[in-house]
Amino acid sequence: MSGLALMCSCAAKVDYGPYRSHMPHSILVLPPLNQSTAVDAPYTYLSTVSRPLAECGYYVFPVAVIDAFMKDNGLPTPDEMHNVSLSKIREVIGADAVLYVTIEDWGQKYYVLSSTTVIQASARLVDVATGTTLWTGTEHLRQGSGGGGGIIGMLVAALVHQIASSMSDPTHEASRAATAGTVSNENNGLLFGPRSPRYESDARGR
């Protein structure tokens, strides 16, 4: 049983045609829009996204440098950064694709006998040259403490307790798990990019 499938949204039949015909070499990840009440969510998320994208075989622009660069150029918030035109991104940054992320729900929910870490986000990968949407993904993670949840709950709870116990913020590790799960999903995740050893052998969407 694959742990990845457990972390991700339900697999839908994905049309990889546009993705294949505009295969990006580089991905710019902008700081996410935040619809949750957790002010730290966008930058916690941002700190966990470079690794899965790079391990998928893409060049990932340095997220903190991009954030500082945009702020220096009069774009203080993610909302304003998301409104930068693709032609400007191409001219100034030279990215092949942009990953736009919106955080919908985030944080710790406390119940009488247990607490749950919740992360819900949606992501859209857009081709800079044409504006075509290449891929969309959603993350929906609920990690419980206490309570049952069967084997899935056990697996996730064990993971969270093992690696998050030393950290003050469980959403950081949860974000890492959710993002890695969505990006690397075998059914509807990103395709292997040009820098991956599995780039040529990826049969999805062929």
């Binding site: 916690t44 700190s47 899965p52 903190a64």
Partner: protein, 116 residues
């Protein structure tokens, strides 16, 4: 019960190591620093980051694993913040050499630095 729990954790972790299964890059503390810059202001000043990233790059070389995309550019930006433009330029050039995908962005940085 404890044994089961630990083996399940290992399975979950191995499933989360990324697209290719086996990691391409040596990640070190880059992501941890990205997190701390925002979550714990003051703990990741340029000097601390330069020390940690430089050490990680040394470890990557020692293990024969590539340094991830963005690390040399991030390090260059930390030098820039310190006012050490020569080291900043060197790191930006290294990033460009390793990852030509970064050329447009970093040539822009280098050009603006030269005008200072």
């Amino acid at each position: 019960m404890r044994g089961i729990r630990i083996s399940l954790t290992a399975a979950a972790l191995s499933a989360l190591t990324g697209c290719a299964g086996k990691s391409i890059y040596y990640w070190g503390r880059y992501e941890e620093l990205l997190y701390e810059m925002h979550a714990k202001p003051g703990t990741a000043d340029p000097e601390t980051q330069i020390a940690k990233l430089t050490e990680d790059i040394g470890k990557a070389h020692a293990e024969g694993k590539p340094v991830p995309p963005g690390v040399h550019a991030h390090l260059g930006y930390m030098y820039y913040q310190q006012g050490n433009l020569a080291s900043a330029e060197q790191e930006f050039e290294t990033e460009k050499h390793l990852f030509p995908e970064s050329t447009v962005l970093l040539d822009g940085f280098l050009k603006r630095m030269a005008q200072k």
